[in-house]
């Protein structure tokens, strides 16, 4: 999967699971998700589980931080880094 596909996949996941099928109007790929508390710890972990399965990667507990997950762009970059390892 390339960067754009991963990003689309992340955006789709967030739309379906975090906002219940409809994104807010002011949402963009840099909108904070974790630091703004749009996502709680359970939804964050569910999202990680989902992409771990989809991309066949493995995440560690200490990687669950806003540094890696806070927006669509940040999470995409994190997944790409994981894939490249």
């Amino acid at each position: 999967m390339d960067q754009e596909q991963i990003k689309n996949s992340v955006r789709h996941y967030i739309t379906q699971n975090i906002f219940g099928s409809q994104l807010p109007k002011d949402f963009n790929d840099d909108t904070p998700l974790v630091s703004s508390r749009l996502m709680d710890s359970i939804s964050t972990l569910k999202m990680i589980n989902h992409f771990e399965e989809e991309l066949k990667i493995e995440c560690k507990a200490h990687e669950v931080t806003a540094d890696n997950l806070d927006s669509v762009n940040i999470f995409t970059a994190f997944l790409l880094r994981k894939l490249s390892r």
Binding site: N17, G20, R37, M39, L45, K60, A61, H62
Partner: protein, 833 residues
């Protein structure tokens, strides 16, 4: 030179050129003014004055001005220097240096490049040594003194630093790393936010200075406002005793709203740090209005939640997620069990006592279950759906808020209860319902829910933007100054209770004070380890134990003979009879009028030197006024003694000294104090020795296994009878030994004297046969801090004792009182060869 400066003070974020603009100078001056007003309000409202907070502006305001003008790279150093100056001011050179060294040790430990396992080992060793010092197993007073402060800063930060250094490296700027450890807010509030290392260093200069200072002022003023709200809540929800559902509900609410003080403390602390450029997050959301336990957990103490998630929740989840389908539940539940452990860990460090209760554990267990169940059941997408709620939905939300608030109030009671017996005893009172009163309560609750729903619905319709922090600060300033003005307006008349307790915390009733003194956070916040105490005293607490001996009888404890102790910087010596007094001959000398004084900590002279106790001054004055007529005053007082011990002293010891007169001192609220004390006899299963006391125990139906609260409540109606019994016993002994019995009422320094308060005990004394007197103007109209040891320790200080001595001397010297019974004295004199 520039190179050296560059090396010592590297650029923190990016180089900036300093431009002195008029608007910036005006903004800094206005902020300084706002800070001055803040500390003026703190002083006027006597907010946490026992913590030394009133000395803070001396350093904080100059430091803020300096911070505002120095280039960016020097700003962390200014923050650091504030800590250092405050430390030396508070602890002096020796202890201050010790505290700084204690904080520098982990700084070097985490800065040097050694394997992480060594860091872990050395940190454990370091904490182990600190623990030995905390429990006084290594006795070095100057070091022991600062351990609670070092502990309050380090106990969680070293854990976070260990975590950080395991996966990442520390920030390259050492000043920021030092600033993380040198947090000056811990010098006056031992309870502080557990700030994550990464959040802390990254937050530095994360916002522009104006925005940051506005945020800091918002936190500081919000903190002060919450302290005020907490005091109001104590007055509004005051309950004399819980007897039925009608009194149980305000009791539960008032009990729970003690949480406001914790919120205030943490918010104020965050404001202090934010003022110096660290843009820290708001520690609390509107958790009191949470409509689910999941929402409650997300909003209450954000710092603590993040700490627990990082250290427990995520690691546990990743460990078990492939092994169990309940991984979320187990991870969340574990988080709360570890929360219990870490609270115990914190309490042990701060109080220096290893103690935990079943109620403490059950509180975290219950909260953990509630949060874990609701969190795993509720989908986050439901929270984030931005559909407009109808009024009916808002009403439903109102009821959900009510349920969460009620459950948390009950859980909070569980947390604060000494035992499960006490918890259930209080709750059982709710079974007594009066139908009319019950209807009133139901109406009040429904009105509350309807109001909540209406406000919520209105705000939703208006799509009101949240108030900006700057405007919020103005609103709080306006409210606080209005309260000050109202206080001024009511200065000559009786003001409403809620208003008077804001500026006079001592007016908070005894029941509320007791309520406020119990519980987890209170034990941390009221350890006595604070500036005012630390400044001038060493080993302030429990040190009297060193010169007292426990007795296995009704006295419970007494002084050991011939001991000397420096207590609160004053010398306490005991004579060969185990009295805090000078040496006397056992046999009464001829031509001497001997008085035995029976009292408590006031008469003992807690907090003043041997020669400054009013008993000692009065004795000297009497002898100086009439050198030919010698008066001896033997002080049989002991801290905590009540009428039972005084009665026991009269049975066992006092008559052997052949006194001519005994003077029994009594204070305000004697029966309540006595009730508390008698409860100790029951809990300790002390042999009550006298049939009458045993019969009272039987009639009250009290036993060692009941909660203190239940014992006290059952015993309270018997207090006048026990007092009368003891008074009669004293009088009988006096008659037998030909001793004149005198009863003196000495008001306490914080007394709001009412005739009823005096009469409730005086009538018993008169009925028994005492000659009674009231030292009405014992403090010569002097009130407050000037005559007390401190804001919280209301024992009279040197001036207080001097004033009591004047009053007491006048009472004794007044010949119309015949207190120095000259006939008896003459009789003795006539025996002189």
């Amino acid at each position: 030179m520039k190179k050296i400066v560059d090396q010592i003070f590297p650029e923190v974020v990016h180089p900036v050129t300093i431009k002195i603009e008029t608007t910036r100078v005006v903004a800094v001056l206005l902020n300084t003014l706002a800070l001055c007003l803040l500390f003026f309000i703190i002083k006027q409202f006597k907010i946490e004055s026992n913590t030394g907070i009133n000395s803070l502006p001396l350093f904080l305001i100059p430091a803020y001005l300096l911070y505002a003008i120095v280039p960016l790279r020097f700003k962390p150093a200014v923050y650091l220097s504030l800590f250092i100056t405050c430390t030396y001011f508070a602890f002096g050179w020796l202890s201050g240096s010790v505290l700084i060294v204690l904080l520098l040790i982990p700084f070097f430990l985490f800065s040097i490049s050694i394997p992480w396992n060594y860091k872990l080992l050395l940190t454990t060793l370091f904490l182990g040594c600190m623990l030995l010092l905390r429990f006084d197993l290594i006795y070095m007073p100057s070091v022991n003194l600062v351990i609670p402060f070092a502990a309050s800063i380090l106990i969680f930060k070293v854990i976070l630093l260990l975590y950080e250094t395991k996966y990442n490296s520390l920030h390259t700027n050492h000043w920021l790393n030092l600033a993380y450890l040198f947090s000056f807010n811990h010098l006056f509030f031992l309870l502080g936010p557990v700030v994550d290392y990464k959040i802390f260093v990254r937050s530095f200069q994360a916002a522009n200075p104006r925005e940051n200072t506005n945020r800091a002022l918002w936190f500081l003023y919000s903190g002060v406002f919450l302290f005020v709200l907490h005091r109001i809540s104590l007055a509004v929800f005051a309950t004399d005793s819980v007897t039925n559902l009608n009194t149980l509900i305000p009791f539960l609410v008032g009990n729970y709203l003690v949480v406001l003080k914790i919120v205030a403390t943490l918010t104020f602390s965050v404001g202090c740090v934010t003022l110096f450029g660290f843009q820290l997050p708001n520690p609390f959301g509107l958790f009191l209005f949470a409509d689910s336990f999941k929402s409650y957990w997300r909003k209450v103490n954000v710092y603590w939640r993040e700490f627990m998630m990082k250290l427990v929740y995520y690691p546990v989840y990743f460990e078990i997620r492939k092994k169990s389908s309940y991984a979320f539940f187990i991870a969340l539940f574990s988080t709360f069990l570890f929360s219990w452990f870490f609270h115990w860990y914190q309490k042990t460090w701060i109080t220096g006592l290893v103690s935990s209760s079943v109620t403490d554990f059950l509180f975290w267990l219950s909260l953990g279950l509630l949060v874990a169940i609701t969190s795993t059941a509720q989908d986050v997408s439901i929270d984030n759906q931005q559909t407009e709620k109808t009024f009916a939905q808002n009403i439903r939300k109102g009821f959900r808020v009510l349920v969460v608030f009620s459950v948390m109030s009950v859980l909070w009671l569980l947390w604060k209860s000494e035992s499960l017996a006490e918890f259930f005893f209080i709750l059982s009172k709710g079974a007594n319902v009066d139908l009319a009163e019950g209807l009133k309560i139901a109406c009040a609750i429904l009105t509350g829910v309807f109001t909540f729903a209406s406000v919520s619905f209105f705000l939703q319709k208006q799509k009101t933007e949240s108030i900006k922090q700057e405007q919020g600060t103005y609103v709080i300033i306006l409210l606080l100054t209005t309260i000050l003005l109202l206080q001024y307006f009511y200065r000559n008349t009786e003001s409403p209770k809620w208003l008077s307790v804001i500026t006079n915390p001592e007016k908070v009733g005894t029941q509320e004070q007791e309520k406020n003194e119990a519980g987890y956070y209170e034990s941390i916040m009221n350890t006595g380890a604070n500036w005012e105490i630390s400044l001038k005293r060493s080993r302030r607490f429990n040190s009297l134990d060193e010169i007292t001996v426990r007795t296995n009888d009704l006295l419970l404890q007494k002084f050991a003979p011939n001991k000397l102790l420096v207590y609160n910087e004053h010398v306490i010596t005991t004579n060969s009879f185990g009295l805090r007094d000078k040496e006397y001959a056992f046999a009464k000398p001829d031509s001497t009028f001997r008085i035995c004084l029976l009292g408590t900590s006031y008469e003992l002279g807690m907090g003043v030197g041997d020669t400054e106790v009013f008993e000692s001054i009065t004795e000297q004055k009497l002898n100086a006024a009439n050198p030919n007529e010698k008066v001896e005053m033997l002080n049989f007082s002991m801290g905590g003694y009540c009428v039972v011990q005084q009665f026991e002293l009269m049975q066992k010891i006092v008559p052997s000294f052949k006194p001519d007169e005994i003077i029994l001192f009594t204070h305000t609220d004697e029966l309540r104090r006595f009730n508390n004390f008698f409860c100790r006899y029951i809990k300790n299963a002390t042999d009550l020795k006298y049939d009458f006391l045993k019969e009272i125990k039987h009639q009250a139906g009290v036993n060692q296994h009941q909660s203190r609260l239940e014992i006290k409540e059952r015993l309270l109606p018997f207090m006048p009878a026990i007092t009368a019994f003891c008074y009669k016993g004293i009088i009988d002994q006096c008659k037998k030994q030909n001793i004149k019995p005198v009863w003196v009422f000495l008001p306490t320094t914080s007394d709001l004297l009412t005739p009823q308060k005096i009469d409730e005990v005086r009538t018993l004394a008169v009925a028994a046969g005492f000659e009674t007197y009231v030292l009405n103007n014992a403090y010569a109209n002097t009130k407050g801090r000037i005559i007390t040891m401190s804001e919280t320790d209301t024992h009279p200080n040197k001036l207080g004792h001097f004033l009591i001595a004047q009053s007491f001397y006048n009472l004794l010297a007044d010949s119309s009182n015949h207190l120095l019974d000259t006939t008896k004295w003459t009789k003795n004199k006539s025996k002189t060869p």
